[in-house]
């Protein structure tokens, strides 16, 4: 019986090659160093083994030149590794602008995923090949970590925070999804798969399920149900700030600071409205912490994000078909 097993994990994302090239570079450099030391060690140990109990080797105190050499050369090589690594890390942390956003919620012990078009999946994610996918990751309980070895990406799901990661799948197939941060008893079963499909197959798959409610539509419904609209009116006569065209823009706060209205800011404004009050408004908004679930917040954020074009006449859901 000759058991076979792979030595290199599958490479199925655009960054996988980058990570592997860096990995190989470090492997070669460290390999050369290790081999050098091992060979020297063995050679010296054999060549200079003690031949008689009276052996007295010559005195050698050290050598400044040598010390400097083997301080500076590793230092320079490691600087290269660091800079290269930092470059890859930046790339891993910068989702492209055209990425489709998939929301990921870790919960002991499952992954809840939702497509921008509203399809929900559990422990399984279907994505089209060639399309950048941005993951907005959070957790409902302990810390988890979203790990897809074939894509070389990993990001912790931390309760109370949104982390982001992204990938662009390059090869159709099915790949492991692991939780890589220990989260309790069934941590090892908090696994799933990422199914990469050809774009047209993906469209078919999307169309296949029951017509889902997109997060934007769900958010709009919630927005009405919770009577948000009484204060956040599309004209500037409300008690709260106008939300149309807000997302992605800088906001001036009562404290004098300026923040960008991103997912985290909008989310915080829903759960703890008093934390960052917009300049010119009173802190009158009650908190919705506990009244809305994690997924509902995601829907609300998606809805507010969809309110991009400030046009007082048009009903807000009109631009929500973006994907």
């Amino acid at each position: 019986m000759t058991p076979s097993f792979p030595l290199v994990p599958e490479r199925a994302s655009s960054v996988a090659g980058e990570v592997d090239a860096l990995f190989l570079f470090i492997l070669v450099v460290t390999g050369i160093f290790a081999a050098g030391v091992w060979i020297a060690l063995l050679y010296f140990a054999i060549r200079y083994r003690r031949r008689s109990p009276e052996d007295r080797p010559p005195e050698i105190h050290g050598s400044l030149a040598l010390e400097l050499t083997w301080t500076i050369i590793p230092f320079l090589l490691m600087s290269v590794m660091f800079v290269w690594g930092a470059k890859v890390f930046f790339h891993l942390n910068r989702p492209p602008d055209d990425a489709m956003t998939v929301s990921v919620v870790g919960k002991r012990w499952m992954w809840k995923l939702q497509h921008p078009t509203g399809q929900r999946e559990i422990n399984e994610l279907h994505v089209p090949r060639g399309r950048a996918v941005k993951l907005v990751i959070t957790s409902e309980d302990a810390i988890h970590s979203f790990f897809v070895p074939a894509f070389r990406i990993k990001k912790d799901a931390v309760p109370g925070r949104y982390n982001t990661a992204w990938f662009r799948a390059t090869k159709a197939g099915s790949y492991h999804l692991f939780c890589s941060e220990y989260c309790g008893t069934e941590h090892a079963r908090m696994t799933g798969r990422i199914v990469v499909m050809e774009p047209d197959e993906y469209e078919t798959w999307l169309a296949g399920g029951p017509a889902p409610e997109s997060p934007v539509a769900a958010g709009e419904k919630l927005f009405t149900e919770l009577n948000c609209v009484t204060c956040h009116r599309p004209d500037s006569a409300g008690r709260g700030p106008v939300l149309q065209g807000l997302f992605g823009r800088p906001v001036k706060l009562a404290s004098g600071e300026t923040v960008v209205a991103d997912e985290a800011y909008v989310r915080e404004s829903i759960t703890s409205p008093a934390a960052k009050v917009v300049a010119g408004y009173q802190p009158v908004m009650p908190t919705y912490q506990g009244q809305v679930s994690e997924e509902q917040i995601i829907a609300l954020v998606a809805y507010i994000q969809s309110l991009q074009i400030p046009s007082p006449a048009a009903p807000a859901g009109a631009s929500g078909r973006s994907r």
């Binding site: 925070r161 985290a264 934390a275």
Partner: protein, 112 residues
């Protein structure tokens, strides 16, 4: 660094430096005054400098205690090294943690 102990011969008092009680009383009074200062200053708003002023006063008070009550001023250099390393490592802890918190793109959010 310190010489081997057996060769150490102390010229000062065998039990260490003797400080006059007057110095102690003066330090005590200074500490009381600074405590009043820290409360009075708190009545005014210096914006972001509130914390700096409060900490400045507290650090001054702590230094007085260390230097005089704890005799650091009259102690071997090594004592200073120990104090400095303790403070330095605390600053490392604080500073490097803050590199994360102060350069995060978003604030902590409560949720659950």
């Amino acid at each position: 660094m310190s010489a081997p102990p057996t060769s150490t011969s102390r010229l000062a008092h065998p039990g260490g430096h003797v400080v006059s009680p007057r110095v102690y009383v003066a330090v005590f009074l200074a500490l009381c005054v600074l405590t009043v200062v820290t409360v009075v200053v708190n009545g005014y708003d210096f914006g972001p400098f509130n914390l700096i002023v409060a900490l400045g006063v507290a650090i001054t008070k702590a230094s007085l205690v260390v230097l005089y009550f704890m005799h650091a001023r009259y102690s071997p250099k090594l004592t200073g090294v120990v104090i400095a390393s303790a403070v330095a490592f605390f600053v490392i802890l604080l500073f490097l943690i803050l590199t994360d918190y102060l350069s995060r793109p978003w604030p902590l959010t409560a949720g659950g």
